[in-house]
Symmetry: C2
Amino acid sequence: MEDIEFLERVVKRVMSSGILGNPKDLRNHSKVTEFVDPEDLKRKLDLEILDEPASNEELLGLCEDVMRYSVKTGHPMFLNQLYHGLDGYCVAGAWLTDVLNTSQSTYEISPVFTVMETFVIRHIINNFIGWDDGEGIFSPGGSVANMYAMFVARHKALPDVKTKGLRGFPQLVAFVSEDGHYSTTKTANWLGIGTDNLVIIKVDDRGRMVPEDLDRSCKEAKQQGKLPFYVCATAGSTVLGSFDPLHQIADICQKHDLWFHVDAAWGGTVLLSRSHRHLMDGVNRADSVTWDFHKMPGLSLYCSVFLTKWTGMLYECNSSCAEYLFQEDKHYDGAYDTGEKSVQCGRKVDVLKLYLAWRGRGQIGMEQLVNHAFNMAQYFFEKIKHTKGFKLVLPEFTNICFWYVPPSLQGKEHTPDFWDQLSTIAPKLKEKMTKQGTMMIAYQPLSSKSFPNFFRLIVHCLPSLSKEDMDFIVTELQRLAEDL
Amino acid sequence: MEDIEFLERVVKRVMSSGILGNPKDLRNHSKVTEFVDPEDLKRKLDLEILDEPASNEELLGLCEDVMRYSVKTGHPMFLNQLYHGLDGYCVAGAWLTDVLNTSQSTYEISPVFTVMETFVIRHIINNFIGWDDGEGIFSPGGSVANMYAMFVARHKALPDVKTKGLRGFPQLVAFVSEDGHYSTTKTANWLGIGTDNLVIIKVDDRGRMVPEDLDRSCKEAKQQGKLPFYVCATAGSTVLGSFDPLHQIADICQKHDLWFHVDAAWGGTVLLSRSHRHLMDGVNRADSVTWDFHKMPGLSLYCSVFLTKWTGMLYECNSSCAEYLFQEDKHYDGAYDTGEKSVQCGRKVDVLKLYLAWRGRGQIGMEQLVNHAFNMAQYFFEKIKHTKGFKLVLPEFTNICFWYVPPSLQGKEHTPDFWDQLSTIAPKLKEKMTKQGTMMIAYQPLSSKSFPNFFRLIVHCLPSLSKEDMDFIVTELQRLAEDL
């Protein structure tokens, strides 16, 4: 059992590595990233697969390299993405899932997880979304969950497309805001609707969909003889963290008979907090919702749910009656099998991670995590408002978007090439912070607002995140920008 | 750090549970499954999520229940599905992946895994598929990989569908055999082609696609003014384990200008063995291939690759230029980022599991695993050929398909209701074996052959699987059927 001995040694190494320990220790002792250029990294890693087995020593050496050159996403200074790690309850759930290695397709092979998934989805629907009825499925990421949404909506609008295809039917038209996630574009492509038939709705100065423009665009599509069928509203946009006005969008969906999807992949977690759930007022009027627990709450990928209030729709859309899996003469009620609701066949278990974290922290603990993230974001926002060099884009949700104006550009705000020059600063600062490994913050331009490159700092549900951490970000940015 | 303490205790418990130990011990000391009816299981599990945190003691008790009532898919008598567990190298890879929790979207956040995925895909393409060039992507399961295939093929046939949608174009027609996997049906639905436009091609007496019927069906579709574009051949069919004749299908694809996809989700692993790779002769002529390493080789879900010889196609189909992820002014070459090739945005790392198993066993070790599985299947086949009560359907690959005729039906093969009665036996036997938990073997009818319920026993790459195990299956079936 060489492989089991290897596993034991890897576990020992991981547990002592600090990656899983106190994030404060991680900050004191480890970089966020030890960046190496791709070609250099290829040379450093000895990846050749040989005929002969590698010894456990060699493999452990390789694992050391894997750990060394991987980004420490559980590090408090990993502020770069909408996901981060690491919740110990979640890791326990992930590890147990890995060894119990099964698929959610049937109750027979996944009894506990079938019951647990159904329970958790019902818990979310009843207590957080606010539907009386409904169903859902864990999916491999928010993009796929959003694809479920448009797919189910397409089926509801034109059920015969399942058998006949799109060709003979009116042109379907979908809507999403300028700041909506790009998965809606991918979905329009995959589902055969075409990206030209995804109408991009304007956003207001805070990045929220403008309902009047949605209404106007629907009318326009109808006038062109097309069939509007689907709106994807965004709760927590990727860059600015904006929440679309759900009630107003729901009204328009009702008026035009459109499927109302809320992409709350990023923002859904506000529903866990009584203080902040108002941001998603109106979500109970949605036909479907995407919510990624692997984003803000810090659970590991994937932990994404697709929810719809239309019980039975997932089965109706997806069932294909595979007789080798869904036999009609089972010795238990085959209605418990979830496989026919899914586009996948083998479907890895994602629910245990969420379940253990939720039970382990309790509802109160989860709420505290969310409130703490909001507080830290607020602290940071207040701080940079009064700090030289910081120029705020928007403070929405826990996305803090700002430009950093280095000393060399300070006071030159009104010179003609100020913005062009400022746009080069974020990439340069990003390169420096990445190469020094002290922190990681994403930057990007934003076409919808013609904004040149700015930073988007993401505050997550990390219980240990402190004001000192937030202060550090400020001084570290100042330090890195000194000579720019 | 309550959560980390909990994790440590879960690890200790898992390591001492026997689930990860020697499969022989698992067989001696543990059932494959401890089956409980769904409603009873709901009552046994105390799932309520409370406001207050659960103690680690409570959570550990819950984890005990999770382990107890979950199917032991690493048990040698788990012969039920196309996947099984557990390779210790793979578990180490899975666990390390979970703690390094990142996404494959960009090199910046996933440097090691980007390099490793590219390396492994190149290794597979060059050394096992036989293309000079090509690219690929790990996808969450074989069904999604097969969806990539039809999607890429659709794009190659009609690139403007990406922007304009399917509506204005000729009706696309795809082909798969009667015994092909149902994911192709789901895909025809999702991609907007329609399941009626998926033409089902006949299989021969061994379950292999009949090339003449494919040729005829293509001509027919063309005569109807439709546009045939895609053939999904199967290498290792789900039930019978048949391999379609790839060279003959390739000829027809060439003749009619069709995309030639090989769904080798189950069978691809034969390519690891010099003795058995001939089953897939002609795969080098395919345009794309699906290969699930989480099936036969016993790696944990997901470990599925989609491969295509058309380098650049995945980007061309999928890119949507999300400016917040794929900035044009990165400090490294953005061509290393794989996110634009994928339908997903966050994409969990799957490559490390495969990589460690492959390195840890060496190419020779992997080959031995495959040969051993074939040998055990052959042993079992020879054995039941001469054992009263066993009636062979087909011995293909490592799928052993057979009816078991219980004593009460033996000698009545020529009575009018023999087949009707025999059809009730597999469900009854399955119920008994599941409830006693001694083994799990799938059963199903097979419409393509009008076969009533029969067993499909799957032999996996399990190094410890022995002749004694195979003998046990025979005597256990006899014991369970005694009074039927």
